[in-house]
Symmetry: D2
Subunit: 341 residues, 4 copies
């Protein structure tokens, strides 16, 4: 951490700041110029509150050199984390496709889609039971009943299941759900993250609409600092000036995140683009960029899906996608162990 | 609502869509061109699920003409809503300043700041007890104890208090808090919004980091559809390419929101800019633009504030601000009753 | 085009508007509701000035159904345009890599890099002679002399060359340059675009920092309406909230543009990311997403490059990239002729 | 300027970097930690090419402490610049309104509008003759003829005039135009900026669609380094996720720019919002925030304006605006001479 002091800083205030910093166990290297004094802090600065320092009257700027995340940091955990979900592995060279409908709608739908996506190669089944919708008048999901239909379809087809949790009070209903998704709108619902840190569930953490990669990792850190290290990160697009797609898929996030952290990183091209016609090209691109997996919306009848049908694929299109992705995978980007960006 | 059909739409599918729309109680006006068929829907379309329609194979685009929010819509409630908080009125020509520290830190601090801001003209006291922080290692607030210190300072100075709630499980602790703030990161925490709709608390709803005004009103609608209509909206800046300020304060949101809705609209220049030196000019600008109030961070000792000290004002600076704002208010923008943008 | 009239529109004004529209050769289909009147316009609306209509007092909204670009529109030119640059073809299944240094710096550099990238498989040589730099104090390029070094290196290695033109007054210096690049900062320099429409040069048109795909195509339309139809479009990232990469590469632009237009679409991962370590993964992703080519910065000595060295590859790394991209190409996304998003 | 070196940097490379830096006339203060070496540079770093340093293999990050702009920097020119345009002063406490139509359309229009806005208090007349339009099929301005009509109306009413120049080749036509506007789309048309630096015209430089304040000042620096120091800066909104207004007016830019530079700063609420109904409230807000002036679109007949009529005011509305702004001005924000943000 580097602290640049203002040119008019009093020596007395500087001394008092330095005492405070040393009390945190940090070493200080002072660089004194004519115009400017710079303090270089050496030691574990990941728990230093940068806002506190920035607020001081004598401080001009503060800049971290080491990252504020620790448990998620690849520097302290160089090997890829491989997450094992009832035998389905993701990360460290294991690529997986999570597929299923945006919303669970009926037993018939779930069974049909589950069987279809399994036959096509997906190993994990997704389905929304609690749905975050912008409008209170839009379909909110089948909730408890939806989770039952999802887990039944998962069990019948031997697939672990993924579903979104919107509030910790819903946790008891997720007993048979292997992977709990935290949606983009809840990426900084810190109370929820803290509670999930005390569970033993795998957490699928989606990037927020306007959040940086560092913020995503800090949210992972909330979960990890509670003891739960089984986290999958998901890039799903950010809001930009783009007018055609719902969001802008930021694929550079894939190699960047894999450099910053040891956690697996997957991509959701369905929500990122909002257009079914873009799901295949963006899936191929995500695979080529080195993602550890994909999350794809598949619906037996996208035209009548109760939500987000516009971006869902029919089972046949999904099967083609799975095959096309498999062909690209052998030639995908592989981060070199010693690489640094 | 206008539905534009694809040029290759089959008549059978069109008929079936029209039957469905009529079943929702809507009238349909068909405009048939050589190339294109347009359906104009007349009736209450605020509860129609636009995603459902857009997903249909025969549909090219769907466009709302009337707004998807109803309870918050000024069209159905032309008069300004005035919210009375234990005698302190906001909205409908009543301008109020909410002031206090970012975080409650001690009894001494709260009493000193409460008295200072009250003397300067603030009628409502704010103080964070549950703090949403990006890092799990940053100060998280005094929580229950913080709420006690806040409400005591409020009672001692005859000021209703405002504090952020991060999870509905915290509600019992907020018994003596008159105004519950929903922070930017929770603007689309729909489970929380629904629950707040069943309380009788005043809700201060902040705009999310990357949310549109319509989305803000849809979140208000979540609360209102539960029965609680006492909502204050707060513009607090959005994330943009701007590199100097923490966020970009979008002051055009003030006259726009006041056109769209009857709810009071206030501005938080402290969080919007993140820089104490910008709080005064942006407060004057917000008042001039027609805001119903301001929320300002004030700290007795900003240099040692446990969070966000960089953007806090000292009591003297706040007193100057309150006086300067008062001078601008008589000349501020007043929306004409019959105006339409 | 659909025009929605305000509910209080006078019949006299409506009639006058309809006369005006008919005078433009358009058919009008009127849909009359209780609350709203909708005019559907049929005919060639690509030259209708939407701002003019929107400004009318009786008009609520106007929405295009057909696109405002015509020469660039795939609807009127379904087959891919293939551009032949002295025998090097791009588009319509022909994938090309353009490579070379950000700035031309010396004869030795150009010859070394040109030979290296040619050996690795690049068919077109790039090099900046006129450099758009944010600061007037930064290196501005070797200008005329730079163009000479570039064209000499191109001729010596049998490669057509690409270089940025910043003002039409520079055109005479570009006689031996086969491809004229219009940079992101000049994408809406309409006077320059118009003049380029009267040349017979191939134009490489880069997307602006904050421009939509429709705006990019409208800029292409400026050139095409002057008679020059040899345009290559280039996605090079847009400005977003992202803090690590210089820009956010928007790869969904590739399949979207290829749907909207018949012109070739390439990707510049060097400028899009600004980080050499991201060039390989983003090149693989771009190829997989269906791009017609790549533009890659290569420098013999990136550490001492006079500009943008941070994002340049060494020749060896470029050779690996070219090989890796070649492996992905057979499995890349191919737009189906009859596809529609 | 602070350079943080990578932990694995070789001493030989560090020595060679330090020799290079000293050759630029800079003093270096080295701070050596266990993990990290920091170089603090003291001296005139405004002409150091930051990209060059960042590209070095041994460098981790580089951060400027002093600003890269010099002529525009308030630090080196503490007093407000006052620009005198044929007797009309702007800056340093002189507030001016520039008003007129988006496009010059006819002699009758110009004379009517010029007289109206002059009577209402505007001292400068604007009118577009060369129009930057997204579409080549939209009205492009009356060009040479438009400039004549504008200057005639200006002379007849004793008002200096403002008009946009899109290419330096147009300069001879602007002989009688006192203020040359550089539009948002040309803010980084560096060849144009350089040429304008050699004229003696006042330049009205508008902020680009997605440009930072520092970039705006660097563009001013291009002009100033050529010798022309008569520049007025103009905030006109940036592109964001906002869906209702054309752009997002960033009013915090006003106090920030006035802190960073001594040049006058005005605001264009017409283009920033694109909605006539927002021009009054945003004008009041801009004045309150401390702007040195406003640029307002006024049209005698906004409904039939050939461009941007949607955002133009009628003369009566403009007269009300001018009066309302005048009332706010005495209470507007005034930067304290010794202030620092």
């Amino acid at each position: 951490m580097v602290i640049v002091l203002k040119s008019n800083a009093q020596q007395k205030s500087i001394d008092s700041l330095m005492d405070f910093l040393r009390s945190l166990g940090l070493d200080i290297h002072v660089s004194q110029g004519d115009d400017v004094t710079i303090l270089g802090l050496v030691g574990d600065t990941s728990r230093v509150d940068i806002d506190l320092l920035t607020a001081l009257d004598i401080v001009k700027t503060v800049r971290r050199i080491s990252e504020p995340y620790k448990d998620a940091n690849r520097k302290f955990h160089p090997a890829d984390t491989i997450i094992d979900i009832d035998g389905v592995k993701i990360g460290g060279g294991n690529f997986q496709i999570i597929a299923g409908p945006c919303s669970v709608e009926s037993e018939e739908q779930m069974n049909f889609v589950a069987k279809s996506v399994k036959d096509a190669g997906a190993k994990l089944l997704r389905g929304g039971a609690f749905k975050p919708r912008t409008s209170p008048y839009a379909f909110q999901g089948l909730r408890e009943n939806g989770l039952q239909l999802l887990t039944q379809a998962g069990q019948a087809n031997g697939m672990p299941v993924v579903s979104e949790i919107m509030d910790i009070a819903q946790l008891p209903l997720f007993e048979d759900v292997q992977v709990l998704q935290v949606g983009a709108r809840n990426m900084q619902n810190f109370e929820l993250l803290k509670e999930l840190g005390h569970t033993s569930k795998v957490i699928l953490l989606k990037r927020g609409l306007a959040n940086t990669l560092e913020e995503l990792l800090m949210s992972a850190e909330y979960i990890m600092s509670g003891g739960n290290e089984r986290i999958i990160l998901c890039e799903r697009g950010i809001r930009t000036i783009s007018a055609v797609t719902r969001n802008t898929l930021d694929l550079s996030a894939v190699p960047l995140l894999k450099e910053m952290t040891h956690l697996p990183v997957i991509v959701d091209p369905s929500h990122a683009t909002g257009l079914a016609g873009l799901v295949l090209p963006m899936s191929l691109a995500a695979a080529a960029a080195g993602a550890d997996g994909l999350m794809i919306e598949v619906h037996n009848d996208p035209e009548h899906a109760l939500c987000d049908g516009r971006q869902s694929l029919r089972p046949e299109a999904f099967a083609q996608l799975a095959k096309a992705v498999e062909q690209v995978l052998p030639f995908a980007y592989k981060r070199e162990a010693e690489a640094s960006l």
